[in-house]
């Protein structure tokens, strides 16, 4: 449950011993058996389609690398890819800055209060992204809620340009993706033993130092987990930037959609998707070099 577990190293040494005594194949067969359904599911609905997409990007009607060549030689594709990464990164940073204090606050509250506050975070989940994006259009427009209010109060002479540009895109995307940061961060934070902070202050640390050197590092798995969830989803966002964005806010997903549903060039669409996938995985790998990502999988608590 807490860091205490870590301090006592392996509490189940006896268990571990007994396990070692059992033949390896027996353990294996039992474990794999429980994994069969989920592996079969993944193979059918995930691995197979993904393999088909990768194949489609280089094959059809015969082996060709034309699609990838086109992506490199025509600048628009790399430009849009870079833009998508930039937007995704900004959304992730904003979600972190806004979501971290919320998660922290939630983790300090009593369960009953949390039960009251959680719906506020979760209810927007149940509303479609399309509806929420249109709602933002009503709020941010020239004659929208914000501009009308500012105008009436005499704070602005002209309507603020806060829609159909990058600001609108960021606002809309952060609004939708914020829960994906808050929830993992919260789930990590509630498991942090607050006695450690008390210990830090007994040792003479100021609250700020205690937070920076004790709480923050311990909450890192939540930050990384939540950040990755937000980043990866933001990279593939389609509806929100299409509706709230300006003339230049093209995301790679829009180009993929154009190729699939309008131009019927599925090979090229598959190549674009593959590059997006590879770039995402590459970013993930890079991250594993910087921080110890295994903590994500719950190794350390």
């Amino acid at each position: 449950m807490t860091v205490k577990g870590e301090l006592t190293a392996h509490p189940t040494t006896r268990e571990g011993h007994r396990e070692r005594a059992r033949p390896r194949w027996k353990r294996w067969s039992l474990e794999t058996l429980t994994l069969v359904p989920i592996l079969a599911y993944l193979a059918v609905f995930y691995v197979y389609p993904l393999a088909r997409i990768l194949l489609l990007s280089v094959y059809g009607p015969r082996l060709t690398f034309d699609h990838f060549l086109r992506m490199v030689t025509v600048p628009v594709y790399t430009q849009v890819l870079m833009r998508s990464f930039r937007i995704a990164l900004l959304v992730t940073v904003l979600s972190l800055v806004l979501g971290y204090p919320v998660a922290y606050l939630l983790s300090t509250l009593k369960p009953r209060r949390v039960a009251l506050l959680m719906p506020v975070i979760l209810v927007p989940f149940t509303i479609s992204v399309l509806v929420r994006s249109y709602a933002w259009m009503a709020i941010l427009g020239r004659q929208g809620l914000v501009n009308t209010l500012l105008g009436r109060l005499g704070l602005t002479q002209q309507p603020l340009e806060i829609l159909y540009n990058e600001f609108g895109v960021l606002l809309g995307m952060v609004h939708i993706l914020l829960p994906f940061f808050i929830l993992p961060a919260y789930s990590v934070m509630i498991r942090i033993d607050r006695d450690l902070l008390k210990a830090a202050s007994i040792m003479g640390a100021t609250p700020a130092r205690g937070f920076l050197e004790v709480f923050l590092p311990l909450s890192l798995p939540g930050i990384i987990g939540g950040g990755l969830l937000v980043f990866i989803q933001a990279l593939g966002f389609f509806v929100t930037p299409a509706l709230l964005g300006g003339p230049r806010d093209t995301m790679i997903s829009m180009l993929i959609e154009l190729q699939i549903s309008q131009l019927l060039n599925w090979g090229f669409a598959a190549a674009l998707s593959s590059v997006l996938l590879i770039a995402t995985l590459g970013g993930f790998m890079l991250l594993t070099r910087i921080v110890r990502v295994p903590i994500l999988w719950g190794e350390a608590r």
Partner: protein, 354 residues
């Protein structure tokens, strides 16, 4: 005893399921047809004018689905699981699909009622589709911003940001925008095609700073006008009446509009091919087309339908003679081989800062 009841019960349920599975397709073959449209008010009008009386007369159930996408047609045919029969699409998509492979049935025109076919406009008969209705890209503007006497009448006016200042919208697509740019540059309508891409994009550069948003779904353009986010823009002609009915001060300029039409196509291997032909033939009836046009301002393809419509309603239709002669027919054949390349150029152009 209880166990035996359990067995009996599950046996009965199994039999029921089996009957369901066996009779499902059998029923489907007898009496239904699946039609795919964009839904919304257009589908309401189609249902009222065509589908309801069709089911009443023939007993064939019309099942509706939305929206049509050529990608889905392609996927269905390739996977061998064709669940759509009739699909609404424009000629661009017909050309794209037939270029990519063979995804649409040929329309056996001789199986359609001859008297209706004889009254069809020439462009409404295609090898793989029969005209559904006319629509158009037109210039629309706010009448509270541009008062009588000073209203945009052409694409040259749209490009004139001194006389007609204010934010604008265009579609997020090279199609239509390039035509409008060339018209603004002074190209004559009858020598518009083949399009001159270099000149078009040069002209588009001029208007770029005034374009606030490129709309990608047909609903966005009227929304932008209604919210006064833009003062003028290109819109689908059928979307403006709805705004006017709500009292929003917008008007259409038909001059130099780009006329296009949607077709009814049949997916290759459609399960209800015969019913599909029956329904397509049924929808060509002039009286019913007139009723449809009264419900929503899209133009009938059957020439005999127009005299049945009152002048006030007819004036709002793209195929109304007065409107039609001021417009230019969109040339899908020219676009066919150029679409991919020009879409790429369009995307690149949008990103460029100037």
């Amino acid at each position: 005893m209880t166990r035996r009841i359990g067995w009996w019960f599950s046996g009965a349920m199994g039999a029921l399921v089996l009957v369901g599975i066996l009779s499902g397709p059998a029923l489907a073959q007898k009496g239904e047809v699946v039609i795919v449209t964009y839904g919304g008010t257009a589908a309401d009008a189609l249902r009222e004018a065509h589908w309801k009386p069709f089911t009443a007369e023939t007993g064939i159930v019309v099942r509706e689905e939305t929206p049509p996408t050529p990608a889905k047609v392609k996927a269905m045919v390739e996977s061998g699981n064709v669940v759509w029969d009739i699909v609404e699409m424009d000629l661009n998509w017909i050309i794209s699909l037939q270029k990519a492979g063979n995804y649409l049935e040929k329309i056996p025109v001789n199986q359609l009622p001859a008297k209706y076919v004889a009254a069809l406009d020439r462009e409404a008969i295609n090898e793989h589709g029969i005209g559904a209705f006319y629509w158009a890209w037109v210039l629309a503007y706010r009448t509270d911003v541009f008062k009588a006497g000073n209203r945009p009448k052409s694409w040259a006016d749209f490009w004139d940001v001194k006389r007609f200042p204010g934010p604008r919208t265009l579609q997020d697509s090279p199609g239509s925008n390039m035509e409008f740019a060339l018209l603004a540059a002074g190209k004559k309508p009858d020598s518009l095609y083949p399009l001159d891409p270099d000149l078009a994009f040069k002209k588009l550069d001029e208007i770029r700073p005034s374009i606030k948003k490129y709309w990608d779904t047909g609903a966005l353009a009227p929304q932008l006008l209604a919210d006064k986010e833009v003062f003028l823009g290109s819109v689908y002609s059928g979307r403006i009446k709805h705004l006017q009915d709500q009292g929003i001060p917008v008007e259409i300029e038909w001059n130099q509009g780009l006329l296009n039409l949607d077709y009814w196509t049949i997916v290759k291997g459609a399960k209800n091919f015969n019913n599909a032909i029956k329904l397509i033939g049924y929808m060509l009836d002039p009286a019913r087309q007139a009723k449809f046009a009264k419900l929503i301002p899209y133009g009938p393809v059957n020439k005999e339908a127009l005299p049945l419509i009152s002048p006030e309603v007819a004036r709002q239709l793209p195929s109304y003679a007065e409107n039609k002669k001021r417009m230019i027919l969109y040339n899908s054949e020219w676009w066919g081989p150029h679409r991919e390349e020009l879409n790429e150029r369009w995307q690149q152009w949008k990103l460029t800062t100037k």
